[in-house]
Amino acid sequence: MTNRINYVTTLIGGRGKGKTDFLKKVVQASNLPKKLIVDVYDNPVWRDLQTHDNKDGANIKVPVLTLDQLPYWKSGTYRIFGSNTDEIKEAIDKYLKNCLLIWEDATKYYGTRLTDIEKRSLYDTKQKNIDAFYVFHSFRKTTIEVLENSDILTLKKTGDNRSLVDRKFENPDITQLFKEVKAHKDKYHTASIFVN
């Protein structure tokens, strides 16, 4: 069986639309030996893998990893958080390989333009065997360079206007996906497409 390439996914979804539950399912499905969730604070929802339809996930804890431990970490699901996200990004860029990496709530620490480290993180995923997820709350808050360099766009409902989606990304597939997800009757609906 041929190994697949690694993927970068941009996940966009409004608050309360089930992004975390979706990501927890991805964490459990991923074949990679390491799974790391990056956040700016100790988000209680990431302390275990419980989801709306998997209460047993509460028994699967997601411990905290410190930056000092990162170079020696070999497997398992961990999370890392802190307000100094530049330091975290540097350590991840330097040490992380073979990992499903989730940049939770990336809106808070990914600006309009990517820094050199952020670019390396984004572009070197295949060389490091990293499947990366960049999570944003809306198209309006999505870093364009991240989406433009993602392989996959996963979309949940957002509060964006279609005109903004058209104007900001100029990709008919993205607009179409946006329309479909917006029109879907299930508020937790999720759809993914290859965008590159």
Partner: protein, 199 residues
């Protein structure tokens, strides 16, 4: 809903194997004992991790509570509003004055306006006055364009917001409710002030 888009089942895709990359052993200074610097994530290391995690979680929770004592996003929105007010307050009158000069100065504009009012009232006008009224319409149109161009639009705000949120978080800048109300008030009042300045 029917769709031509080819959808991906992400959990299926990501469950497929990938090419594992070699991880170098990094010899760096850490708080760990040398014996736990090993390739595998041993139970010994896991215990250490869990012990450290508990302490770390407590400490960082306190730190984070302190740091996230305010909503950085709200602060950023208020800060952007304030910046918008300032830049409107600066650029609108400056642009108005420049435009006024281009049309011959304040007295000339008053003259053009008088002809325009005459036209609006349907009074009898000379050819020169008709030309002046038209010039005033052009001037008025330009002013409208400037007024629409200067304030931040949705895209400007979207571009500014992530970095402003980040800045507010890092620097602990809390644009509190009073200031936010103040910013809103200043925004309304400054609009009126600019109108008055441009009369």
């Amino acid at each position: 809903m029917s769709s031509l888009l080819e959808k991906v089942v992400l959990t299926d895709v990501l469950s497929q194997p990938t090419q594992t990359r070699t991880e170098e052993k990094e010899e760096i200074e850490t708080n760990f004992e040398p014996q736990i610097k090993q390739d595998d994530f041993s139970p010994h290391l896991e215990e250490s991790l869990n012990a450290i995690e508990e302490t770390k979680t407590e400490i960082e929770s306190e730190e984070e509570e302190e740091e996230l004592d305010f909503d950085a996003e709200e602060s950023a929105e208020s800060a952007i509003d304030i910046i918008d007010v300032i830049q409107q307050g600066i650029f609108t009158p400056v642009s108005f004055i420049k435009l006024q000069k281009r049309f011959g100065g304040k007295d000339r504009i008053n003259q053009l306006k008088a002809s325009f009012i005459k036209k609006t009232n349907g009074e009898e006008m000379s050819k020169e006055e008709e030309a002046e009224a038209m010039q005033y319409e052009v001037f008025d149109e330009k002013i409208k364009e400037i007024r629409e161009e200067i304030p931040f639009n949705e895209v400007d705000v979207a571009a500014l917001k992530p970095s402003t949120i980040k800045y507010c978080e890092r620097k602990g800048i809390d644009v509190n409710e009073n200031l936010a109300i103040g910013a809103g008030l200043v925004k309304v009042l400054s609009g009126r002030l600019v109108n008055i300045l441009m009369i």
